[in-house]
């Protein structure tokens, strides 16, 4: 049987901190599945130290999330 899962949700957490003495920042981008199924906790999506790398990570994650959210699930 093929069903569509229409109750998918997730949170993307971007932790950013200034590292004293470097003149820049570091960040960890983590994904959390909030759909209410099995608790998978936080999963690191990327670590980055530049604005472009953070934005790229967010874009990749969103594209992957929306692609998977619209995929039919084969439950056979």
């Amino acid at each position: 049987m093929v069903t569509l899962n229409d109750d998918r949700s997730a949170a993307l957490l971007i932790r950013v901190w200034v590292e004293e003495g470097t003149g820049g920042f570091r960040s960890r981008v983590s994904s959390i599945d909030t759909s209410g199924g099995e608790d998978t906790g936080e999963i690191t999506v990327a670590v980055a130290s530049s604005t472009d790398d953070v934005l790229d990570a967010v874009r990749r994650w969103l594209e992957d999330f929306t692609r998977r959210a619209s995929d039919p699930i084969d439950t056979d």
Binding site: R15, E19, T22, R26, V47
Partner: protein, 247 residues
């Protein structure tokens, strides 16, 4: 006036409510909506009813959210009367109700108090472990979880320094490692660990910790340690060890 209830709310590592008049733990029988109400009041001081309803039932019209809140308050009053205090349009846990999250906040503040006993601080650290409400993904939980995580990391680094200064080197190293585990890319935690090793006279351990951090930073971020880290390791009395040449 009824005496304050003897109650304890635990939110670290999962939800738990102990209420004396019920003779023990009552959380297992609490509906999820009631648990969320108790948890929200445990992490906030005296929020307005409208804010509580909006945070707990964000996806329904305000009138429905207010109704759900009234229902949750009624259910909770039957199970744990007096646990919640209502004052005008605000809600709060009754005076005297213990909340582990509040104890964690107090613990972190006491670490920066030079008169606080290091023994007490170490004992409290072991008791106040764990993530806030694992498996709960409400927006207010995510934000509060992150606030507590930051608070705990800063406190652990300060605790490690205090333990090292007190000559309790093994515990200092352990506290620093817990801070490193919380965020492996956080450099101040690694500096704390290196300082703890140096305080004990473990030069090789300090060098090893530095090299591990430097390698991880290069592999994961393509970045070099900060000037503060270089200043710290440049002082190591090791012949032929020149950290600047590694960058």
């Amino acid at each position: 006036m009824d005496p304050a209830p003897v109650a304890r709310v635990e939110l670290l590592e999962g939800f738990s409510l102990e209420f004396e008049r019920c003779g023990g733990r009552v959380s297992d029988g609490l509906p999820r909506g009631v648990q969320r109400l108790v948890a929200l009041l445990g992490v906030s001081r005296r929020p307005p009813r409208t804010a509580v309803a909006g945070l707990l039932w964000p996806d329904v019209p305000e009138v429905h959210a207010q109704g759900s809140l009234r229902s949750a308050l009624w259910r909770l009053h039957r199970i744990a009367p007096g646990l919640i205090h209502t004052c005008r349009d605000t809600l709060s846990l009754a005076d005297g109700v213990q909340v582990d999250v509040r104890e964690l906040t107090c613990w972190a503040q006491r670490i920066f108090d030079p008169t606080a006993s290091v023994d007490d601080l170490v004992a409290a650290r072991l008791r106040l472990r764990g993530e806030l409400l694992p498996g709960w993904y409400d927006d207010w939980v995510l934000l509060e979880r992150e606030r507590l995580r930051q608070l705990r990391m800063h406190a652990l680094e300060a605790l490690a320094d205090r333990l090292a200064a007190a000559g309790r080197h093994s515990e200092a190293v352990q506290a620093a490692y817990v801070a490193v585990q919380a965020e492996p890319l956080r450099e101040s935690a690694h500096r704390t660990l290196i300082r703890a090793h140096l305080a004990e006279g473990n030069l090789i351990e300090a060098m090893h910790a530095y090299e591990s951090f430097r390698t991880m930073l290069a592999d994961e971020l393509g970045a070099a340690p900060s000037r503060l880290m270089r200043d710290l390791v440049n002082r190591l009395p090791v012949p032929d060890f020149h950290p600047a040449s590694h960058f």
